[in-house]
Amino acid sequence: MTGAPPRPGPPLWLLAELTYRCPLHCVFCFNPVDFARHADELGTADWLRVLREGRALGAVQLGLSGGEPLLRDDLEVIVAEARRLGFYSNLLTSGVGLTRERAHALKQAGLDHVQLSFQDSTREMNDFLSHTRTFELKNRVARLIKDEGWPMVMNVVLHRLNIDHVDRIIAMAHEFGAQTLELANTQYYSWAHLNRDQLLPTHEQLQRAEACVDRWRERVGDRMRLLFVAPDYHEGTAKRCVNGWGSTLLNVAPDGVALPCHTARMLPGAAFPNVRDASLREIWFDSEGFRRYRGTGWMKEPCASCEHKERDLGGCRCQAWLLAGDAQAADPVCRLSPHHALVTEAVARAGSNPGVEHPLVFRDVPNSNRLSRAGTGTPAG
């Protein structure tokens, strides 16, 4: 399995990160730590071209994300073009900026689905972790979503500071009539990686949370789908990154950089291509960036001879870079990785950490500028 990477199928998922601007300051944000350096956003015409090129390649699901995509005042235009082209459009939002008028305009433009993210079910925790007072707003936005007839999908990112509230979180989603609740354990890249020692839950916390989710599943049956995304730090097995590098997802960042996953910008090596300079077809099939870790031919040991290599495709390249300092290494969350002790030690520290030794780093422009200058976000950081 060496040589040229396999020719992929279509990029079924097009993720358009419309802006890095965001009114929230979440400590687990997966936007790049140096996002403030990439403020040169694509214009409307560029986005409409990206949609047309993506659809022609066979993309069918469209994620409209950010930052906070509602901060783009051309969102309705983008949604309308997406609908005309036959995309199923998903708006991934904190809900800040969604008025009744805007919700109605987006519905008229053809938006298919709104995924509303919450930080927690209790206002105090919600405000603490997102650093603004947003909980009442989200209650209101949840009602707007129902009133427009959109499927109600809620997303809560779990970590040590909120995972013990999971029963209340599920109760809230049930009360709102959510069809689906995604309980996504934090993935430790970018801002979450900076804050990892405060955010990693203990094994005991995870077990309690999973037991709670199981009780709710028995109670609500298939009325509300409960997705519990297990954290790879605690499992000892690597997961496929976005279903395989350059296999399914094509992410376009706010400044037009095309990425095989939303955190790949941090990786060393040549710069990823930009949609201002190349078509999506060239980017998807021919660019070095999308071919770099496609398939299994790039692998080193222990992955190269591993029986699981086709299942997990070596795991996450960003995690290998962040933890092992080598983007071609086995994902250190895998117990077969020579760097696995870095992960088990971090989880063990979560259980013994008596208190917070340094403050949480909130995702905002001053911190981004400071950390960009300091070079944090690389393995040396």
Partner: protein, 99 residues
């Protein structure tokens, strides 16, 4: 426990509709019908696609079966269609109002 809805079995008078928030469409790049839902997609095989594309929230199962039998010069398709609809309802691809 007590808030699980009781599924009703499809009958010839059932009028199915595509599930809430889902969209059925033909995908040229994949040469098949797909069912789109929030952040996901199901590729339908040919017979599932033929049944699903006849579901419009107006026609009952008897009419859908008759149309399929005409289109494929076949008879006795009703059991297959009913079995598919029961499966599809469990997946929430389709829905109908209980009689």
């Amino acid at each position: 426990m007590n808030d699980i809805p009781t599924p009703t079995v499809a009958a010839s008078t059932t009028v199915p509709r595509i599930g809430h928030g889902l969209r059925l469409q033909w995908e040229e790049a994949q040469s098949c019908f797909v069912l789109l839902y929030p952040e996901g997609m199901v590729k339908l095989n040919q017979s599932a696609g033929e049944i699903m594309q006849r579901i419009d929230g107006q026609r009952d199962v008897a009419a859908i079966v008759a149309d399929l039998e005409r289109a494929f010069a076949a008879t006795g398709l009703a059991p297959d269609v009913l079995a598919f609809l029961d499966l599809a309802q469990r997946q929430r691809w389709v829905d109908w109002t209980a009689p």
